[in-house]
């Protein structure tokens, strides 16, 4: 479903309503499903966070779960196994915690080649090994043909957070500098280009990688001056910034000229008519950092390989609350909304 289709097909919220593919986008429909159906049913007063903090005695445990349904399962720069490991590690890192263990739940379709399961599991192990975060427990279910499209993976992780550290979506402050750790939109365009029916080979590789060491460096450098961290996965940078701006009651202004987008990625976005700000990332983060610490954090980020291309891309303003704008190349300003529906289904 294109953005426009989604915009012109608003969904009534009533008892005959059905779940749409767009509800899985990480955009506005997803936010509504969470706000109107899932969170109230769970008795939650607020938004379900991607990662929660659970106090166990004096220890802060960060806990996060994520399902992966990406298609195709193997794409340039990764596969569903490494993506699942890195994705969950990153969700934990975004709350300022050091990930310590992962669980792995497989849903397998009857008829899946065992060799493919072995390949995916080997990739899980390699990603977990590279990140230094072991898979300690798991579950495997098999359903009949047609009950799953091959393999789905749900990873859950636990991490430990040091006292005094609390990056949170609610802690963005006017004046904060918006940092991004690397070029955006690579993951979504890599997966899209790997879908055979699109018929182009772009040479674009997913940015899937773990970011917990980068986060550790940032927190070591500036501690509580790192106000918020977010990995802009489904829905891209646009959704992540809208969520942060809304949660903190601030505005954000981005500078389009400063946004790092690799040349081939920008070209592929242009061909397909998608905005790189709406495309999923799996290996870069957004940070909102107090202005007096921003330069130091940026310099520290650039000393790590996964932060080598980090840059400052905008500022937090004092309102209107929830408003994200982009100063464009030609000097005008446009409002940057979340996607309403689904731009790229099954991107992660």
């Amino acid at each position: 479903m294109s953005t426009l289709d989604a915009l012109t097909c608003p969904v009534p919220h009533n008892e005959t309503e059905r779940v749409l593919l767009g509800h899985g986008s990480g955009g506005q429909l997803m936010a509504e499903l969470l706000r109107d159906v899932i969170t109230p049913a769970l008795g939650g007063s607020g938004v379900l966070e991607d990662a929660a903090v659970v106090s166990v005695g004096s220890t802060q445990i960060v806990f996060s779960t994520d399902g992966f349904v990406v298609t195709p399962r193997f794409f340039p720069g990764g596969d569903i196994g490494s993506l699942a490991v890195n994705g969950t590690i990153n969700d934990i890192a975004m709350r300022g915690a050091d990930p310590v263990a992962l669980s792995l739940a497989y849903l397998l379709e009857e008829g899946l080649p065992v060799a493919e399961l072995r390949r995916i599991t080997t990739s899980v192990a390699a990603a977990a090994g590279a990140a230094g975060v072991p898979v300690v427990t798991g579950d495997t279910k098999v359903v009949e043909r047609g009950g799953v499209d091959g393999v789905y993976v749900t990873t859950t992780g636990i991490g430990v957070r040091a006292p005094g550290v609390d990056p949170s979506a609610t802690r963005c402050r006017p004046g904060d500098v918006v940092l991004v750790s690397g070029p955006i939109a690579a993951h979504g365009m890599a997966v899209l280009s790997a879908r055979e029916d699109l018929g182009f080979d772009s040479g674009i590789r997913s940015d899937s990688r773990p970011l917990h060491r980068l986060v550790c460096t940032m927190l070591h450098t500036a501690g509580a001056a790192v106000h918020a961290l977010r990995d802009p996965t489904r829905g891209g940078v646009a959704s992540a910034l809208n969520e942060l701006a809304e949660a903190s009651g601030v505005s954000v202004e981005l500078d389009e000229t400063a946004l790092p987008v690799a040349r081939q990625v920008a070209a592929a976005c242009e061909i397909l008519g998608v905005d790189p700000l709406h495309v999923a990332n799996e290996g870069c983060l957004i940070a909102m950092v107090a202005p007096e610490s921003a330069d130091r954090v940026l310099a520290a980020m650039r000393r790590r390989p996964e932060g080598a291309a980090a840059c400052a891309v905008g500022r937090v303003g004092d309102g209107p609350a929830g408003r994200v704008t982009v100063r464009t190349l030609v000097g005008s300003t446009r409002v940057l909304d979340m996607l309403v529906g689904e731009q790229l289904p099954r991107i992660c």
Copy 2:
């Protein structure tokens, strides 16, 4: 697939091999898939436990994940939402831990009525509330029609274990008394009877319920004398006992006359030709308890509603290692194996 079909169709282990429905049974095929494919690829030296213990400083965190694909999603005595909550709570309790938080990952099929999602989520919340274990984080993915059969749920939980407590599959000792907390085989037969095409209404209800308070009572009563705990889900009591006997290098002898099976459940098993020892449970546990503590533990279990029908059903012997036998009603002895393949697909 019936047990017999599975027995007469051994699966070659080679690169043309495919995942079979029987690999999801919790029986011998599943054990082989874990042993031959998943565990080696993850670099594991042993068996992946259903729940792992992760040390965080001086705190022992117990961590467990489980996917739920039960069909139908609503059955007498429960539904996929409450089943997922209780199932994960029970996996954590079986390692002697007190569950403190759950995560909830949904896989939804495009077209699912939102009302059904609300009903399932309300059931998740009710089960979590009744157990006193909150759902603190989650994830929702939507896939196109045919990519999932309606709704699948993956729950993951964390719990905290008191020092000095360590019930483990490896700690069964010769002489231990085998206790079971209640009537067996109700869950599997309830789900089976709810499948319309079987066309019988048995009045049987699933035993799905949380067992962590029962475990707390048992550990409070006898501490480390509770050597092993297991909830006999997929593969039933037979698989659970075979796993325990193998992990501890002991034999187990069950007394068939002592096994609690409700009358309607026994009748339904007889009609369908299945052994209640192979049928899934979701609300009873097996405990291996040191003989000098068994009576005290049994008395304590019976004081709780979920343990009211607890009884002693057998003894641990000193070998042959891994051998489970049943002394039958007529006084003969038969070997009780794991199921090889799948008896009841998608039972949980």
